[in-house]
Amino acid sequence: VTRTDEATAIAADSVLGKRRARADAWSKVTGGAEYVADRALAALLHARPVVSPFAHARITRVDRSAALQIPGVRHVLVYEDLPIRGGAGRAAEPLASGEVVFMGQPVALVLAETEAAAEDGAELVEVDYDLLDPAVDPQASVLPGAPLARVELLSESADGEMHGSIGKARTETAEEELSANVYERRIFTSGQPEEALAACSHVFKRRFTVPWIHQGYLEPQVAMASPDRDGGVSIYTSTQGTFYTRSVIAGVFDIPPGKVRVEAGTLGGAFGGKIALIEPLVVAAALAAKRPVRVAWTRSEDFAAGNPAPSFDVELTLGLTADGRFGALDAVMVVDTGAFTDNGTASLAAARMPGPYRFQATRVKLRGVRTNRPGAGAYRAPGGPQCAFALESLIDEAAQALGLDPVELRRMNVLATDEIAASGSRTAGHGMDAVLDTVASHPLWQRRDELPADQGIGLAIGMHPGQTMGAAASCRMDPDGGMTIVHGYVDMTGTDATMQVIAAEAMGVAPDLVRVEARDTRTAPPAGLSGGSMVTYCLGSAVKAAALSAREQLLDMAAGELEIAAGDLEVVDGAVRPVGSPAQAIAITSLVAKASGLGNGCLPIEGHGAGHPPELAPSAAAALAHVAVDRETGQVSLIDYVAVQDVGRVLNPALCEGQMRGGAAQAIGMALFEGMEYSDDGELLTGSFLTYAMPRSERLPDMETIIVEVPSEHGAFGARGIGESAIVPGAAAVANAVAAAATRMSDLPMTAGRVWQALRS
């Protein structure tokens, strides 16, 4: 841990910064954790989908008769059987509504008493299709006359609704005729791009591509739903957001939100991919069948019909002034978000293009294009690593060409606190300077010019802005001297263990005395999605406030007992006492017992906390990659990897390092292994782990993690949200290392065959 001056010393008895296992770690690694698919439910119907073998077709006939003959099969549902009453986008179309728009799209759902019977039934459902021309290649699908990915549009979902505003943009004027597949054409500008570019002394230009990437969560999409007697529905699901799911379901089925009860199960990985994707289908089936229903995708169904990260294609131009300042950035981006346009993934990618840098002027021309693939979803720092791959590659190329120090070139162009970014928003305080100091002095970086032939070291940085939201929590004091924190956020990354430490530190007790309960939508305080690097930053502040409020009540009570001002009291060893006077200590247990006593006029001790940080707390990150390239085969071997990240204040180093390592692994996957491939007909060629390459542990190097602490102003104890920045710089760092060792690659993943081709030409 590199602690900066601002990261002031913490008390010797502080529980912050200590390595602690998350409460669910043991049950997860020993198979004891209950996941959604594990829960037994009386009268449950199992579901298996009938999926389209074609990317684009019209359904002309569905014959269910043979399937209904299978013993145990109860229903075979098609779109027309579903009680859809509202909503928009993919959520309102959980089964294909006449027009199939991607291969693997569910066309019918078989419900049976056992999953095996449902599978047998699904095999016997006969579907006839009229084939339609598919739109597959994103660049070709942009052009007028291209086959349309959707002939009939049901409804469009509001763009970017989940991720908030992304700055100034104007709709591109129709100077160029484009296909109706282009559902979004916008230009984001700052300054005077043409003049700025003309004034630049050095201009670098390159086209970069990143394919569709699946989040690769270990637990495929799964949910259960039961109709309730009051006309509502109860849902038990693998989700990142119970309240968000509630609002989607309430909208699609026109049920009052109060009658939609959503409980989150243990999350078997999500990374942005589990946001109300499968719940509309399972609720529709449960309401249609009037019985509890479970839908659990297989791995291949999830690959074909999930919501992976969209493909990304950018023609990027970077102009530098004579003194190395970034003068102009010009990007022409084509983002293929598949057959649905939910989630705003195209405009999110456009917003990430300028990275954490200051430019005199920028112009990002965005085209969001619809093709016959599943709809795109969020994946850890949406657009972040893809944009960083392009921009950090070009910056590296500029540094090499101009003989500039890559660290200093970045440092002089990074936005300073309070500076206005290209998006028009003010730059919140960040620790990129300290991160760059750490990189510059790292032995691996200093050795970069002393390597054997065919080895290289690459650097890249990234800083995801994250988001803010209002969050709330309560803190109840318990008779055993412990406390219970109640909130409504799904634990995606170990955040409950973080809340435990925050509450313990605020109260002054041991973390073991803190229980953290994430409740369902019936009883939890209002909560947002787990995502956007928000939970530690926003909920953390609320939990701290709730614990401080309970502490104040406790101290007030003790002050009355001791006849000493509350301000002169402290909490030590499970007791409240005058500062430095153990002899007069009153155990928390006896205060709590008294607080719940009869007829003594005492109030129960329960604190409430809420908050909405007034600004972002971006987490600066950098990655160093050391590679060897086998020139004979093109194979890239990763020898070393160093992740450096400003976490604000380290609450639990084990969890911070986990985020940094996981982000690095996913970035390395993007760099070297991953990519969804489709045939010219729109058939998914990488629909299982036999064909889609994940960054498995044996292919990853030992990683070094260096935590930097530059406290945020508003996070609990200075903490920042760190989940997203962790993935941003890695792919670019590996690409820059490959460039230093052998050749510059513009297309991900950098497979051996591609590197070999590049070396040959």
């Binding site: 095996a116 599978e119 292994f673 064909t691 390459a693 994940m694 292919r699 070999w756 081709q757």
Partner: protein, 279 residues
């Protein structure tokens, strides 16, 4: 991922196994690391699974210099048997799948499955292995060279079982072998796998076997490569390797190139081992 319904039998004797296999839709189960995934995708729908793991050989033993490997031996058992296993075979066995697969998948199962990218077939071919097969009509020995007939097909009759593989005793010369493969990043199957075994005399290759896997319809010996290696001193191969049927594909050029690289590296490594140079 739910297989169609089927029966499971674990016969106690080979006679019971033959009887169960009289049903033309019955399939032999010998570890299940390929068959079961195919059943889960319903690409295979046997009426009955006849589990032969307890019947076919479970031995790894040296008999008169030859190495006998029972068909029921798992990859992991082979690697930990303590017997002197030719290096190429051990390298191939080690490169199969992951630990769970090596714990369950068997040598006989892998050979009988006849995957075009079967790792262990290449060293078996390069080492001149013989397979002992047994059927209701008796026993026969088949050179592995004549065993594979195409993708997932072999000379095995419907009720015939692979009982063991026999690797002949090495000759009098110093011998060395190596298996070099380039794997598909997702599946781990070899895109190109080359096994080379050489016997060196006076610093030259006096005898050699060379075989490839992953590149054609079946793992196969490469006589042209063997001919090129005979008499060689240094590890420099001819520019092209002829006589190997490559599955046509988008990356055929690259695969042909990898084939040459793998052959070079396998030969260099095997030659070093034969001459006692550490690798």
């Amino acid at each position: 991922v739910i297989p169609a319904s089927c029966n499971y039998e674990r016969p106690a004797t080979i006679g019971d196994a033959f009887a169960a296999l009289a049903d033309p839709d019955a399939k032999v189960l010998a570890g299940g690391q390929s068959l079961v995934p195919m059943m889960k995708l319903r690409l295979a729908r046997p009426s009955t699974l006849v589990d032969v793991c307890g019947i076919v050989g479970a031995h790894v033993e040296q008999i008169g210099g030859a190495l006998h490997v029972g068909a029921g031996v798992t990859y992991d058992e082979l690697l930990r048997s303590g017997a002197v296993v030719p290096t190429a075979l051990a390298e191939a066995a080690r490169s199969v799948g992951d630990l769970q697969i090596r714990n369950a998948g068997t040598i006989g199962g892998a050979l009988a499955h006849a995957d075009p990218a079967c790792d262990i077939a290449a060293p078996m071919l390069s080492l001149d292995a013989t397979l002992r097969l047994q059927s209701p009509s008796g026993e026969r020995l088949v050179a592995i060279d004549e065993f594979f007939t195409g993708p997932y097909t072999t000379v095995l009759d419907a009720q015939e079982l692979v009982m063991e593989a026999i690797l002949p005793a090495p000759g009098d010369h110093a011998a060395g072998s190596a298996y070099v493969s380039f794997e598909d990043l997702a599946s781990g199957y070899p895109i190109v796998g080359v096994a080379v075994c050489v016997e060196a005399q006076d610093g030259r290759v006096a005898r050699c076997g060379a075989a490839v896997t992953g590149v054609g319809p079946s793992p196969t010996r490469v006589p042209a490569l063997e001919a090129a290696l005979l008499g060689q001193r240094d590890a420099e191969l001819p520019a092209a390797i002829d006589g190997v049927e490559l599955l046509a594909g988008e990356h055929a050029d690259y695969h042909r190139h990898l084939l040459r690289v793998a052959a070079n590296r396998a030969f260099a490594c095997a030659a070093d081992r034969a001459q006692g140079r550490a690798t």
